[in-house]
Amino acid sequence: MIEVQGLTKYYGERAAVQDVTFSVPSGQVLGFLGPNGAGKSTTMRILTGYIGATSGSASVAGFDVFSESQEVRRRIGYLPETAPLYNEMRVAGFLTLMCKLRGVPPSRRRARVDDAIDACGLGERSEEVIGRLSRGLRQRVGLAQAIVHQPEALILDEPTAGLDPGQTRETRDLIKQLGRDRTVVLSSHILSEVEATCERVLIINEGRLVADGAPGKLAQRIGVGRKHEVELVVRGDADEVEAALREVPGVDALSSTRAEGGIVRVVVGTRVPDLREALSRAVIEGGFGLLEVQARTLSLEDVFLQLTRSEDGS
């Protein structure tokens, strides 16, 4: 559905996107993950034909985004960052305008507008002025305009930015629902969002693609050979507990904090995948009281941080 080959975009001297290549099969929900300013929006703007690329090629549904821009634009729905809307218009009027501009035949406009309004839960608000809507509702209107002409692919730039947790969840559910029968590319700098909604994640940093895979697998694959951590809560004297734990083979690093009532919280760094048993044995054999043991698994968040940190060792 979407093919991107060696895409590069320079703003003056600065490269916003460098040699990015990926493809999205039909029906996939793809998450574009990266810190702010990594090149997510630039890539999306190129895909939607809003700006040109310096080099490389991109196509949507077999149409080149540069030479056949009109054909591409007919087939995509795009929600730009911050959901720009005409504030003085009413919701239904705005969606009708967008239908017109996207060539929906007059007889189907009403139905398409109604469908989009229903899908985005805007039923009660269809006659309200957009400028008076809350942030979350505006975002929904933004989504509604993206789907109103029933495009084959949806490109959503930070669809949940600036929403409260309840709204975020609603929007996510909506995206999942929309993704059932079309291709969706969404960008985010929030990991849990991508984990919750996407089948596949691309991590982009400083304009370059640094990882590509399913959210769960990505964490696993990148986790290999990296640090693991075990956290223990122990009752006993801090120094003695530390001394006992340092004896355990495989312990590379150790830090502890004292809590009230003679309780110590110890975080152990190790390269051994699971050191919980050995550590708890050491605690018990040392005569301390073991209250909690927990292995900290590498979350997508850690993967993200490790990949996007500028080469300061791992």
Binding site: Y50, Q70, P84, E88, K100, L101, P105, S107
Partner: protein
């Protein structure tokens, strides 16, 4: 035991739709409307009108439109009509036309046009339009038409004074007045196009306003003034290209072809450059 004949599965109930009856009524005459759209849509005309309509409506919803309309009607009725016709005892439209050329065109038109593209750029809605299947020239013409329609409305208001003069004075030179209106329509079309071009260059409406005002004043007066100070034969050139002199013929009742072409080409050139500015974002 014989298997019970499978009951035909009931189709899932369609989700409740609002305004269902209205839609059914719509489909009755749908074929003609759809057929018209199929023919017209590739030409870009529906998009142009959709964009123009939105901009015109936006002007009436926003305070700017009303402020411009208010200031204009005040000036045209006081300076243009009262001081000339009633206090000055001259049964002529000169005062009204004077307000249009000295104030409506160089000051109020920039107020109308400043937001046309600068606001879209600032709010990000330009991205929404230009990622829809709308061609750059459709957007350019649509925007221009929206601003121009507002100008024409203001111009139409002044026809009231023609009507009043007609009632009280016989033998009014209607040919002269008509020619002047033709000139004003052309001048306005070009001025809106220039304002639109300036609005396409920036995301700041204030800058768009001043740029447009400066360019319009230069177009109108510069040639005229420079013509006075430059040694002949260059002075002839400057006073010839000045907008002021190219408008004079209309006020004398003669719509000269060269002057019509002058204003029309100014409009077309500005619109062409605007379209280039819009498409420049896609340059590699």
């Amino acid at each position: 035991m014989p298997a019970a004949a499978p009951r035909p599965a009931r189709p899932p109930a369609p989700p409740p739709r609002r305004r269902a009856p209205a839609r059914r009524a719509e489909t009755a005459d749908a074929s003609t409307a759809d057929a018209i759209q199929r023919v017209l849509h590739p030409t870009g005309v529906p998009n142009v009108f959709a964009i123009a309509r939105r901009d015109l409506t936006a002007l009436f919803v926003s305070p700017v439109g009303w402020v411009v309309a208010g200031i204009f009607t005040f000036l045209v009725s006081s300076f243009g009509f009262y001081f000339t016709v009633i206090a000055g005892q001259q049964a002529s439209m000169d005062g009204v036309f004077g307000v249009i050329t000295t104030f409506l065109v160089p000051v109020l038109i920039p107020l109308i046009t400043m937001r046309l593209l600068a606001e879209e750029r600032a709010q990000g809605t330009l991205e929404l339009l230009l990622t829809s299947p709308v061609r750059d020239w459709e957007l350019t013409i649509g925007k221009w038409l929206g601003g121009f329609a507002f100008y024409l409305m203001l111009l139409a208001v002044t026809l009231v004074y023609v009507a009043i003069l007609l009632v009280y004075k016989s033998g009014l030179d209607l040919g002269l007045i008509a020619a002047t209106y033709v000139g004003l329509v052309l001048v306005g079309g070009a001025a809106v196009a220039i304002g639109l071009l300036m609005s396409s260059l920036t995301r700041n409406q204030i800058i768009a306003f001043f740029l447009a005002m400066i360019v319009l004043l230069v177009v109108w007066y510069a040639g005229y003034i420079i013509g006075y100070f430059v040694a002949p034969p260059a002075n002839l050139f400057f006073s010839y290209v000045g907008g002021f002199n190219r408008y004079q013929s209309f006020t004398l009742g003669q719509a000269a072809v060269r002057d019509i072409l002058y204003w029309a080409s100014l409009a077309v050139f500005s619109l062409f450059v605007t379209e280039r500015v819009l498409s420049s974002r896609r340059w590699r």
